[in-house]
Amino acid sequence: MPDGLPNSPWSAARASEIIAEGGAGALLPLLHALQAEFGCVPDAAVPLLASALNLSRAEVHGVLTFYHDFRRTPVEGHLVRLCRAEACQARGGREVEATLKAALEIDAGVTLEAVYCLGLCASGPAALVNGKPVARLHGARLTQLIEALRT
């Protein structure tokens, strides 16, 4: 079920192309575009962005590290972003978190991260699995997800 994440190897030339395509756009769209290509925004991208947007490297670093979404190293394997917010808690989210943690301990290749609300609050517990929303994560559906993540 889970498709892989984007993960092209770093290329300064490709990064410069992406930044040029973004034109005079603000920093966030460029950071998103870089992460969509390379699976992260590596440190090597910071001076390229700073120079293109006439910012200091510190300013770019400040933005890059402020937002939870941007990562500086790519995720290896599957990325599960499990909702930890109240509506999913009320539907057994804490138990699902514990189950996933226990199941994934014996399985490398899965990164489990917290996310706070996916807007699937009447169908929780919910998660984004490699960017795809998955809900009603209990019983057989949770077991199926764990099985799929092991492959």
Partner: protein
């Protein structure tokens, strides 16, 4: 015309297999040699039935749900294309009590139409408000929004017309309309559903807003946790541009208006309007001190109208049907309808649009049908992670901004999260502080430090360490956060904490109720 089959493209349907269901319907129809047209509509907002598959018949649309991909072959064999009997047949969806009891103004089309067909939008009452707005002109549009009594649906409940008037009166060569679609509150999904299910309504509302305040550029700031909504609103803005709803003469008028969709990056605080503006400018999403108000100096220092999705989406109805039609609904100073979002441990979870005034008990017990788990309801959190926890003794509170405020609660964005009797309110209070610590932008001390110290102090209370003294500390921290924070994140985090302490003192260790009741 081939029979039309509706399979929602909404994220909440996709999350339970709607895409696979659509593929399976197409494959099974091809195998049987019956041509069908599959429409990916929005969600009706009755999530227990998702994926709700509908077939258009001579007797209206007939729904079946919840349908999983493995149900499709049996469904087709049961004569689904003729509306035939099947254990998962729910009949005409609009006859479901959950839908029949609603007053859908903003969500009138959501779930019914093809979200990306401008013809479908027009055929179902769209664009009427904009056409009227073009005839009325800016000053009269503002007057009608004021007369409707519409208040900001993002949470603050500020009168929308006053905000529009302030931006309209500001003198500047460039002004902006910014739509806040950074719907981060847990238990809310109305913005998401609308972006995915009826995006032209928001676009129409924004074009009207641009006309009213004299802005030619709009931005929609959508949170990154909503990949379906981002794709949907991007597709809809492109379609709007192609058909002239956006562009040099937006909607056929004499004024230009265009919209750029921007994506957040996982910061809850960017739902606060000034942090959102900073983020749009490409900066860290840190809150600005007010004044100046965004209406005077907002995006790039220009006068900016910042409104929530639901506020802007309410405007086309107000113009099309008249301010009185909107203002005639509601309760007290809360006029019109509120799209309530029922979530958590609730049997009938989903989108319930209703005039203000419905008591919380009716929403939770009657409309919501109690808990999904079958356990008794213990607490309800209204208004997202910054909303108060209400016990059953407060369930007579009507949906009304002032009525909730009078009981130290808030309506916020209209999210209602139901908890059963297994909930540990000590942990819920702790989570509120933990969440604030994670999401604090760090600009002001009460929020940045208060949240961390609050969580530590609460841990001590829960561990039974000098509970009375530590409770006093926690209450002090809450007071400082409430009074001294720059924005609602730090300012309102005390709501869930204090309400939990006040109404559920028995969950905070061996604390005598009187000691917990110091707020």
């Amino acid at each position: 015309m081939n029979p039309r089959v509706f399979v929602p493209g909404d994220a909440a349907a996709a999350a339970v297999g709607a895409d696979e269901v659509a593929t399976a319907v197409a494959a099974e129809a091809a195998r049987l040699g019956v041509p069908v047209q599959i429409v990916r509509n929005g969600s009706r907002g009755v999530f227990e039935f998702e994926t709700l598959v509908e077939i258009e018949t001579g007797a209206g649309r007939i729904g079946y749900g919840p349908i999983y991909p493995e149900d499709v072959a049996g469904l087709m064999a049961a004569g689904f294309l003729q509306g035939g009997p099947h254990p998962k047949r729910v009949g005409r969806p609009e006859a479901l009590p959950f839908l029949a009891r609603q007053t859908r103004l903003t969500f009138a089309r959501c779930g019914l139409t093809d979200p990306f067909s401008i013809d479908d939008y027009r055929a179902n009452g769209g664009i009427v408000g904009l056409e009227k707005a073009l005839r009325l002109g800016p000053a009269e549009i503002v007057e009608r929004v004021k007369a409707s009594g519409l208040r900001g649906r993002g949470g603050a409940g500020f009168p929308a017309g006053i905000k529009w008037e302030t931006v309209a009166r500001a003198q500047a060569l460039q002004k902006y309309v910014v739509c806040n679609a950074d719907e981060g509150d847990s238990g809310t999904f109305a913005d998401r559903m609308l972006l995915e299910g009826d995006p032209f309504l928001l676009i129409e509302g924004m074009v009207i807003a641009g006309l009213a305040v004299g802005a030619s550029q709009g931005f929609i700031y959508v949170r990154s946790e909503y990949p379906h909504a981002i794709a949907a609103i991007r597709r809809a803005t492109a379609a709007a541009r192609a058909t002239g709803l956006l562009g040099a003469s937006a909607g056929g008028g004499s004024r230009a208006f265009d919209i750029e969709v921007r994506v957040g990056a996982g910061a809850y605080v960017c739902g606060e309007e000034t942090a959102l503006l900073e983020s749009l400018e490409g900066k860290r999403g840190q809150v600005r001190a007010k004044p100046p108000l965004p209406a005077h100096a907002g995006l790039f220092g220009r006068p900016t109208l910042v409104n929530n999705v639901l506020t802007l989406a309410a405007v086309p109805f107000i113009l099309a049907q008249g301010a009185d039609a909107y203002a005639s609904l509601g309760h007290g100073r809360s006029r019109g309808t509120l799209p309530v979002q029922l979530a958590g441990d609730v049997r009938n979870g989903g989108l319930f649009e209703t005039p203000f005034g419905m008591p919380l008990a009716e929403l939770v017990d009657d409309i919501g049908g109690g808990t999904l788990s079958g356990r008794p309801v213990r607490a309800v959190q209204v208004g997202g992670p910054l909303g108060a926890y209400f016990p059953r003794t407060l369930f007579d509170t009507p949906l009304d901004y002032e009525a909730f405020a009078a009981r130290d609660g808030l309506i916020g964005h209209g999210g209602v999260v139901v908890f059963n009797d297994t909930v540990d309110m000590g942990q819920q209070a702790r989570f509120a502080l933990e969440f604030c610590a994670i999401e604090s932008c760090g600009k002001c001390t009460p929020c940045r430090i208060g949240s961390v110290r609050g969580a530590e102090t609460l841990d001590r209370i829960l561990a039974g360490e000098r509970p009375e003294a530590n409770l006093a500390v926690l209450n002090d921290l809450c007071e400082v956060m409430a009074a001294g924070s720059l924005c609602a994140l730090g300012g309102l985090t005390p709501y869930p904490v204090r309400s939990a302490l006040k109404h559920f003192a028995e969950d905070f260790g061996a604390v005598p109720r009187a000691a917990a009741d110091v707020s």
